[in-house]
């Protein structure tokens, strides 16, 4: 029996393909702004959203989408308007999110296998309606990045210069934060809340070592992200493992290999 004969695997691969491409595309701009860990903080807020979904008997993905987007925008608001350092704003969201999640999960009596699937990803739980929502949000997210690409690059390279010259830096930052929230929400089915940040960051680090321009870094990172998801899901299917771990371990292996490869090449060329 082929891996694609199973309906749940086709759903997982289709969802994973969107996630694998979107997460590094958003992650690139977060890494350049030294906000690599924002995905972790937002992920914990998404956990609260999932728990609220169970408690209110609404779609956990939809509830997580709202919670993650609100949390992401809140981080940006705290950084921008209240002068909080990025790590302090993240810490506040991070701990508030996980604490709210634990309280809501306890209240909903939902400490079960479904919740475990959201934390670490699962290839069995992606539904057709999940896929539809994820494809719509993923394509919309990528389209938004394409439209705002030059502005996002300008802010990444020199935020203060962009602000002085009249670019709407605060608006671009808020949009980027909202995109990070959407990415976390659409990725949690496959990669899991606790590991999604890795898929936003590791492919970017790996690609940044190998590519020589922003454009090539983003495309290479998207390729590494996509490959990580496809390989991770395949390993997960055959070895009966949580897909989040397999996906991120593959991405980590590519990152380490790129670092080692570049280091070796430099040593050989410098004698």
């Amino acid at each position: 029996m082929s891996i694609l004969d199973a309906d749940f695997m086709r759903l997982a691969f289709a969802t994973g393909a969107v996630v694998g491409v979107l997460a590094p595309a958003v992650g690139f701009f977060l890494v350049q702004r030294r906000m690599s860990l924002i995905g972790d903080g937002i992920g914990h807020a998404a956990f609260a959203g999932v728990a609220a979904g169970y408690l209110l008997d609404v779609s956990p993905v939809g509830a997580a989408l709202v919670a993650a987007t609100v949390a992401a925008v809140a981080v940006e608001w705290l950084r921008g308007r209240h002068g909080a350092a990025g790590d302090q704003a993240l810490a506040l969201i991070f701990y508030t999110g996980i604490a709210a999640g634990v309280v809501l999960v306890s209240a909903a009596g939902a400490l079960n296998a479904n919740l475990f699937a959201f934390l670490f990803g699962s290839i069995l739980t992606v539904t057709r309606s999940d896929l539809e929502l994820i494809v719509v949000l993923g394509v919309a997210g990528l389209a938004l990045i394409a439209v705002l690409y030059r502005g996002l690059v300008a802010v990444s390279l020199d935020a203060e210069g962009a602000r002085v010259s009249g670019l709407p830096v605060t608006l671009l930052n808020v949009i980027l934060a909202a995109l990070a929230g959407v990415t976390v929400a659409v990725s949690m089915r496959i990669v899991g809340i606790l590991l999604i940040a890795a898929l936003m960051v590791l492919p970017v680090i790996a690609a940044g070592r190998l590519a020589g321009s922003i454009r090539s870094t983003i495309f290479l990172a998207m390729g590494i992200g996509l490959a990580s998801v496809l390989v991770g899901l395949t390993i997960s299917y055959y070895a009966d493992l949580a897909p989040g771990g397999a996906i991120v371990l593959f991405a980590a292996a590519v990152t380490v290999a790129s670092m080692a490869g570049v280091s070796l090449t430099q040593r050989l060329t410098t004698g």
Partner: protein, 239 residues
């Protein structure tokens, strides 16, 4: 000459803090090459932020090209080069991408670059002597070349006012001299208004038309040759 920057009786204090600037009067004409210098903590960064409209004065009025600075509608006419540590020099960006980013404010956020934009970008890269390195990652350039790439980024916006904030911080004396000479050439060729803000002005004083020293207010405003001898930077000796 039209006035690029005008400050009238500007005073400033941060909330609950002592006055940082008192009764500053300043006019900078279009096409001037001016350095604003002074000790750290003397208020020159605050003065710069008021000039750029990023802070509103507690009293008085700041104007850019005749408009209130905080409400200046043609911000694409200003190019600002931040301190080296605030620039994305470690980004995996090609020189051309860095320079093209400087064109975005002039072109507009959502409008794609046209052929004239591409010509301006190529011209800016050529002007700073980096044409052969246009596709190279900026990380692999020397410190001086990186600085030139960011100058090209500023020029790609075809600015009327070029502001450089501590551009030579952490750069050795020789490199400061080279950079100052380069800015002098640029000013002569383009006639753009240049505002060079630094706590040290030894390298640049040969090329600027005015030195403005700030210490809680303007304590000197004149030609570099009018500066008291003891105020010259001894690390830069020019014949």
């Amino acid at each position: 000459m039209p006035v690029a920057v005008s400050l009238q009786d500007v005073s400033f204090a941060y909330p609950g803090g002592p006055p940082v600037l008192r009764d500053v009067k300043l006019e900078i004409e279009s096409g001037e090459f001016v350095t604003i210098a002074g000790p750290n903590g003397g208020g020159k960064t605050t003065l710069l932020r008021i000039i750029l409209g990023l802070e509103r004065p507690s009293a008085g009025q700041a104007r850019l090209f005749g408009e209130p600075a905080h409400d200046f509608h043609q911000r694409f006419r200003i190019a600002y080069l931040a301190q080296r540590t605030q620039l994305g020099i470690d980004a995996p960006a090609a020189v051309r991408e860095v320079v093209a980013a400087g064109r975005v404010p002039r072109r507009g956020l959502l409008r794609p670059l046209g052929s004239r934009d591409r010509d301006v970008i190529a011209g800016a890269i050529d002007r700073v002597g980096l044409s052969e390195l246009a596709r190279s990652p900026i990380q692999r350039l020397s410190g001086g070349q990186q600085q030139r790439a960011y100058i090209a980024k500023a020029l790609a916006g075809e600015p009327d006012l070029l502001v450089l904030d501590e551009p030579t911080a952490g750069v050795d004396v020789d490199a400061q001299e080279v950079f100052a000479a380069f800015l002098g050439e640029l000013h002569q060729e383009l006639g753009v208004t240049i505002l060079y803000v630094s706590h040290e002005f030894g390298a640049i004083e040969r090329f600027v038309e005015r030195v403005i020293l700030v210490r809680g207010g303007i304590v000197f405003d004149g030609r570099p040759t009018e500066l008291p001898t003891s105020w010259h930077d001894p690390s830069h000796v020019h014949p």
